[in-house]
């Protein structure tokens, strides 16, 4: 399949990790908020981990270019590719 799963996987972790990191920075020092998690700023700590994971996945996924299924090229597609596009 043409879409490498690591690209959306990387992006969703970048997005959620990013949101959590920013929120963690904004609420840093808010003792009442982090009382539940025993004083640990989970948003910041885990947000950074998720962001890093997302970045790795995204870059690995991007290294492999989007390509159509090479095993099974449809006849009409190979023709279309051969013709110059205007």
């Amino acid at each position: 399949m043409g879409l490498d799963i690591r690209i959306p996987l990387g992006l969703i972790f970048l997005a959620i990790g990013g949101i959590m990191t920013l929120f963690g920075i904004a609420t840093h020092g808010d003792a009442a908020l982090y009382e539940r998690s025993m004083g640990v700023n989970l948003n910041l700590a885990w947000g950074i981990v998720m962001f890093a994971f997302g970045a790795i996945m995204f870059f690995i996924g991007r290294r492999q270019k989007w390509q159509d299924d090479p095993v099974n090229p449809r006849p009409w597609e190979t023709k279309a590719k051969a013709k110059p596009r205007h």
């Binding site: 399949m1 043409g2 879409l3 969703i12 959590m20 908020l33």
Partner: protein, 595 residues
């Protein structure tokens, strides 16, 4: 419970990606092969993660957390004994026939190997089961949203259940309708990583709170922290099952029946890009599967450990002797069960409050996660419910289109028509699931109910596949009569036995009570053992009495007549068998550590 904008934002990001994947894949869905089999082009590791995620629905996350809180670390047998050996077996021995025979579904393999009637029986019973499972996932999700008050203040309370059902149905329908199996597999991979991301910090912070694993061992009785403690006899462990019932019923019959024959999981492996990849799929899946007890069962144990430092009091009270084993431990932060109609706490026959173990994991999320992280935790939970549904819906639309519609209703339509039918079947499957969700309300423990269905449908099934793949003499008549007899045997066994403490009815004993099992778990396992044995005997008997198929027709379908997969070009460490041995070795180590 009040969620802030940041929690909603995280959930919205997830839903946007889920549907976005469907839209991104839409342009690749050109043939029915693309839609139902993902064009057989997915790498092994992606299929492997989808393989376990598809199974990681409501019954896993909520049910396993609940069982962890109720029964303890014994619940991990459902993962260790109850999954890993079967996953190794299907990868090494059975996948060459599923993938190599070019069958498009498990029922289609049965038609190639046996005959039309065996396929029909399997296709119809499987279609029923997927709808039922998908409905249960949907129901569990809606119930949880209602109990947590997720939509409180947004939707009138009376409509929360219905709105949740419709919302989940629309989202799952959306991404499968657009991207077919590929979309389901990709979303299952997302969901896998989200579950890990959402639950790992929960376990970490929870363990810190209760003083680590040693703290749990100190707080809870030994029956809950040792996976093989008291397994010699049914009355000395919390499951109420002795080791024979556990290893034969769960470890062999139910587990092999599910992991080796259930098209829901096998479909993920069939989407792999080569036979070698397909064989690796269940083996790759087995590695994270083995460690999932630490993500979904451990939170249950942590939940009952919190704030209760007095296991001695429960064991020392005079009432301990009359209480069932699973009541003799602290309840930590598990809330009491509340009657939805009277809003009063539910009491059992002795006036003892009943605890709502299904809320173990959601309660843990609310207890430990601050705003932001809570959004992620809830996203992980919702993701697991949806992929549980999606797995069933993709399996249903394939079996419906190839094994019911194409086989019996419209044999000679164009491929475009079957692609269209697949999309219609997706809509139909979701509508039927909604019906099943409203039916599912009469069951108390989700997992027990599912085990019951699996026992009737799946337990006899493995005998048919085992004989079909490894004994060339097995005939279509034998397979069919064996299956019917096995399912019938399961039904009769269920009707004649009853778990202790239940009235005759849905739990068994509706014919006559011949035997009383110590627990419903034991009854389920033994129902499976009976069904399997009856199927095995009947299939062998009828096969010997009936005309065998000529051997050339069975090449590629039976072990002894099929050339072994070529592995010469692989180094020893690349061979599936090496991976399987490594997986089994890790399994033994885990069992020794937690024995």
């Amino acid at each position: 419970m009040t969620l802030t904008y940041i929690d909603w934002l995280i959930m919205l990001v997830y839903f946007a990606f889920v549907l976005g994947i469907g839209f991104a894949l839409k342009r690749y869905m050109r043939t029915s092969n693309d839609f139902f089999l993902a064009g057989r082009s997915i790498p092994a590791w992606v299929c492997g993660l989808a393989f376990i995620s598809a199974n990681l629905g409501a019954q896993e996350v909520i049910g396993m957390g609940a069982s962890g809180a109720k029964y303890g670390i014994l619940t991990s047998h459902f993962y260790w004994i109850g999954a890993i050996p079967a996953m190794c077996f299907v990868g090494i021995f059975m996948m060459p026939f599923y993938y190599g025979s070019k069958a498009r579904s498990v029922p289609e393999y049965l038609r190639l190997r046996f005959d039309e009637k065996t396929r029909a029986l399997n296709a119809f019973s499987f279609a029923f089961m997927t709808i039922f499972s998908s409905g249960i996932s949907m129901y569990a999700m809606a119930l949880l949203i209602q109990r947590l008050g997720l939509f409180h203040g947004i939707v009138p309370d009376a409509y929360v259940f219905h709105v949740s059902i419709v919302l989940s149905a629309v989202i799952v329908l959306g991404y499968i309708f657009l991207g077919g199996l590929t979309s389901a597999i990709y979303n299952e991979v997302l969901q896998f990583f989200l579950i890990v991301a959402g639950f790992l910090p929960l376990v970490w912070i929870g363990l810190r709170n209760v003083g680590g694993w040693s703290g749990i061992r100190h707080t809870l009785p030994a029956t809950m922290t040792q996976s093989w403690h008291g397994m010699a006899h049914a009355s000395t462990n919390t499951l109420g099952v002795e080791w024979v019932g556990l290893t034969m019923g769960l470890g062999f019959v139910l587990s092999f029946g599910y992991w080796c024959t259930d098209f829901l999981v096998v479909q993920r492996a069939m989407a792999a890009d080569s036979e070698l990849s397909a064989r690796r799929v269940p083996l790759i899946a087995a590695i994270p599967k083995m460690f999932f007890p630490f993500l979904v069962i451990l939170p249950g144990l942590i939940a009952v450990s919190i704030g209760s430092h007095a296991s001695a009091t429960a064991a020392g009270t005079p009432t301990a002797a009359v209480m069932p084993l699973d009541q003799q431990h602290p309840h930590g932060i598990i809330p009491q069960k509340i009657d939805p109609i009277t809003a009063q706490p539910v009491l059992d026959a002795n006036g003892v409050p009943v605890y709502d173990y299904d809320l173990a994991i959601p309660t843990m999320l609310l207890h430990f996660f601050p705003t932001g992280m809570l959004g992620l935790g809830l996203t992980a939970l919702l993701a697991s419910f949806m992929s549980g549904m999606a797995g069933n819906v993709t399996a249903f639309n394939t079996v419906w289109t190839y094994d019911i519609y194409q086989a019996y209703i419209n044999k000679r339509a164009s491929d475009a028509h079957y692609l269209w039918m697949g999309r219609m079947a997706t809509i139909g499957g979701i509508v039927l699931s909604i019906g099943a969700a409203y039916l599912a309300t009469s069951f108390n423990n989700i997992m027990d109910a599912l085990q019951l269905v699996f026992a009737f449908v799946n337990a006899p099934l493995f005998a048919t596949f085992l004989l079909g793949m490894f004994w060339k003499r097995t005939t279509g008549h034998g397979a069919f009569s064996g299956l019917v007899a096995g399912t019938f045997g399961a039904l009769v066994h269920h009707g004649l036995t009853i778990p202790a403490g239940y009235a005759p009815g849905i739990h068994g004993g509706w014919l006559n009570i011949v035997h009383t099992y110590p627990s419903d778990m034991a009854q389920n396992f033994w129902t499976a053992i009976f069904a399997f044995t009856i199927n095995l005997l009947v299939t062998v008997g009828v096969s010997i009495a009936s005309e065998p198929r000529p051997e050339p027709e069975l090449v590629g379908l039976v072990y002894s007549l099929t050339p072994k997969p070529v592995e010469e070009h692989l180094e020893w460490y690349q061979k599936p068998a090496t991976l399987a041995l490594a997986v089994l070795g890790m399994l033994v180590i885990l069992n020794l550590v937690f024995a």
